[in-house]
């Protein structure tokens, strides 16, 4: 009982501390200066219709690079922890998915992949981008893996896709130092006509690279976990 009352007290203190945010919050009339700057100058500086994409890919591009690295580390650690002990050990013998699931997954798989690619290629025009597109691709892989437990994307293909897209991302970032104002500057390519697919400089390329990388990493995590055999059963 002491434990429960301690926990409740701690939660109450935490909630009270956060409650001041609610009680003292006054809705501001205008944007703060950073947001004002981004909203006013983004179109002339970056040229993307979606301001969030401009912030993610260009203004805070280094942040995103670090984030993709964290995701890569997570995928590597999961692969390391779950590695199979012996090479010849058979993979998990789970039940096959039902007839409905396997038929539906075969029909839905190409559509999901195309949706994912659409989402990350159009990241600078519409809501969406590399992370969402990568997640949709990961879901497509998951669907196939659920229907057919023996299905596995080749690790080699995943690693190559991931490394290639990561290296391209960094190279594009480095090109920005020499051809434009700084690291990850998107103006190494012409800004183009505002609102078209091929516009906003290097943003479509960078976001596609992020999409492929995130998709490969999520697929890797899913395949790793789905194929683990709990060594007790």
């Amino acid at each position: 009982m002491l434990r429960n009352s301690l926990i409740l007290g701690l939660v109450a203190v935490f909630a009270l501390a956060l409650f001041t945010i609610f009680s003292e919050y006054k809705t501001p009339e205008t944007l703060n200066r950073t947001a004002q700057y981004y909203n006013e100058n983004e179109v002339s500086q970056v040229g993307a219709a979606n301001v969030v994409t401009a912030v993610v890919v260009t203004y805070r591009g280094l942040d995103t690079l670090g984030e993709v690295t964290v995701l890569f580390l997570t995928a590597s650690v999961i692969g390391f922890i779950l590695r199979r002990k012996k090479k010849g050990e058979p993979v998990v013998k789970a039940d096959k998915g039902s007839e409905i699931l396997s038929t539906a997954s075969r029909i839905l798989f190409p559509g999901s992949i195309i949706l994912g690619v659409y989402v990350f290629v159009n990241g600078h025009l519409t809501p969406g981008g590399g992370f969402q597109g990568g997640a949709v691709i990961g879901t497509a892989i998951l669907l196939i893996a659920l229907a057919n437990p023996e299905f596995a994307v080749s690790r080699k293909v995943l690693h190559w896709l991931e490394s290639l897209s990561g290296v391209t991302y960094v190279i594009i970032g480095l090109l920005g130092i020499f051809l434009a104002a700084g690291f990850l500057d998107n103006r190494i390519l012409p800004l183009g006509d505002f609102g078209h697919l091929l516009s906003a400089g290097a943003i479509p390329i960078i976001y596609s690279m992020i999409g492929i990388k995130v998709g490969a990493e999520l697929s890797g995590i899913i395949t790793d976990i789905n194929q683990t055999k709990t060594n007790l059963s």
């Binding site: 909630a15 956060l18 909203n39 983004e42 179109v43 979606n50 301001v51 912030v55 984030e67």
Partner: protein
């Protein structure tokens, strides 16, 4: 009584975080602790996005009535959205890592109850 979109969202974010913290500290099953972590995560994300919201404004995407000229008058703050966007993806990675560790611990001890994990107790 403050009854506006951003106040309701802030309050629900705080309540979700409090419930999540209660679950993290109070549950004994390790899977349920991880579920509470995701609840906490969601509440934090709602709180951060709500702090960037301005009433009556729309998403910062140039389209239709939102033009290049009036973007800073009709659009909300894009920075919290960009931060939360990355936070959700990182949150997935962290959750996956925690789940894999839980699976490993279950292999060793054959249980998910944290009371059985006594190796580091003294």
């Amino acid at each position: 009584m403050k009854l506006s979109v951003e106040h309701i969202a802030i309050l629900s974010g705080i309540l979700l975080m409090a419930i999540g913290l209660w679950g993290i500290l109070g549950r004994k099953n390790i899977l349920k602790m991880i579920i509470s972590f995701t609840v906490f995560d969601t509440g934090l994300n709602i709180l951060i996005v709500a702090l960037g919201y301005l009433p009556g404004r729309t998403a910062p995407i140039v389209d239709g009535p939102v033009t290049v000229e009036n973007l800073s008058q009709v659009a909300v703050d894009p920075v919290p959205q960009a931060l939360v966007l990355t936070a959700i993806v990182i949150g997935f990675g962290v959750t996956a890592l925690m789940l894999v560790y839980a699976l490993k611990m279950h292999e060793k001890k054959k249980t998910l109850d944290i009371n059985e994990y006594t190796d580091l107790k003294w």
